[in-house]
Amino acid sequence: MSDNKYYYAVARIRSRELSLLNEAFIDQLLGAKSIEEAMRLLQDKGWHMPEEYTTESDRVEKMLAAEKQKTWDLIAELVPDMSVFDVLLIENDYHNLKAAVKEALTSDIHHDIYSSGGTIDPKVMNSAIENRDFSLLPEEMRDVAEKALDTLLHTHDGQLTDIIIDKAALSAINAAGKKSGSPVLELYAELKVASADIKTAIRAIKTGKDKNFIKEALAPCESLDTERLANAANEGTDALYDFLSLSKYADAVPELKRSPSAFERWCDNLIIRNIRSEIAHPYTIGPLAAYIIARENEISTVRIVLSGLINDLPEESVRERAREMYV
């Protein structure tokens, strides 16, 4: 891909970066005494305020969905071929595949379980699974869709189905990252897969899964030796921590010891820290990818803060979960 295409796009993103939320704003948001005050702060920053809503949670979700849509609308305006960003959208496709496969087992229809913003229309996904017409799906998804559907129909084991789909999703993310030709997106994919593998290993230890199960569940990843990760997970938590301490992800160990949410936060922060150098790149696709990731990150942090306010959580506990900002 030619990097010479993005002079206009990166310049627009540079201007847009001025309206990204920074650490000081997140501090201010965390200090808000009520959901109304927090919403007012966001409105002052230009965030969308839904006029019609049923509950505060509904209002927040509508606002966040609109903000997400704004980001993708801007990027669609700037980049003619959006396939380069598939790596950021594939997760939604596989989430929808999971939903469609599980829905196929029941007679009920649940439109709200599908996630928008993937590369495949949820209706197409649903139709492909319901009618077993896998040709409607992209080639790389057909086998996994069939396997997951058959597994669920024959075993009724939702967890096993999830593992099949999750692994395929991670492999697809990894492949899309490499295909994008953008070092930022490739790095994003790699970190996403590595952190998911670590999470899987931890979950497998907690649920007492055997080595074969763990090996089956881990997605291939360049920065982590999944064979050794599976062996370490099979031996127990201490062996896993020892293995990670000697890997590129040594900093994850104290966070894993603290709590699952601390580790989640560390994963997101790791991505943000690694993409921050894109602030200085003047004309590649990198700053556009970094902007999308930064927006997703701030949307997720705002969701954490606002949920904390709605549910009256202590400020300190919300602060612990808030992510680092890109700017």
């Binding site: 002079y7 206009y8 796009a9 990166v10 310049a11 627009r12 540079r14 201007s15 970066e17 003047p282």
Partner: protein
């Protein structure tokens, strides 16, 4: 043959430096348009930055004019019996401006694009943002001087 070589030199100076400037101003123009789309008040600032890579084209034109003038091509009194050696002298005298003009304009556009990004984020740093692409101009000016001195040194 001599006059053809000399003319090739004059044409190269205008051609390559002009190509470099066209590419450079085009790139910087795209970035400038991006900033103005979001922030129309930045128009005058980014316009100046966009124009910086355009100077090489002017220098190339200047060298071409000097060479054409010395060759008598502007007044219709061309020295068609010019020796091959003299023709080569004109050609080589024009080459610094041709090549340095091409490369420096393209490189200057990269710096101008980065500076336009800087102005987008920190409009108060406009003065400093001008300095980075202006540094590249130094080498275009050095090449211009060399070409002028060399053209003036060619015996009539």
């Amino acid at each position: 043959m001599g006059i053809a070589l000399a003319l090739l030199g004059a044409a190269s100076a205008a051609l390559f430096a002009g190509i470099g400037s066209a590419i450079g101003v085009g790139r910087a123009g795209q970035a400038a348009a991006g900033v103005v789309t979001e922030e129309p008040s930045q128009f005058s600032r980014v316009l100046i930055l966009q124009l910086l890579p355009g100077t090489q084209g002017i220098y190339g034109l200047l060298i071409a004019f000097i060479a054409l003038s010395q060759l008598g091509l502007l007044g219709g009194q061309a020295n068609t019996s010019m020796s091959v050696g003299t023709g080569f002298m004109y050609l080589f005298a024009c080459l610094p401006m041709a090549f340095v003009g091409l490369v420096s304009a393209m490189m200057q556009s990269q710096a101008a694009v980065a500076s336009i990004g800087l102005v987008a984020k920190r409009p108060d740093q406009f003065g400093k943002s001008m300095i980075f692409p202006a540094m590249v101009e130094t080498y275009a000016i050095l090449a211009l001087l060399v070409s002028i001195l060399a053209l003036n040194g060619i015996p009539a």
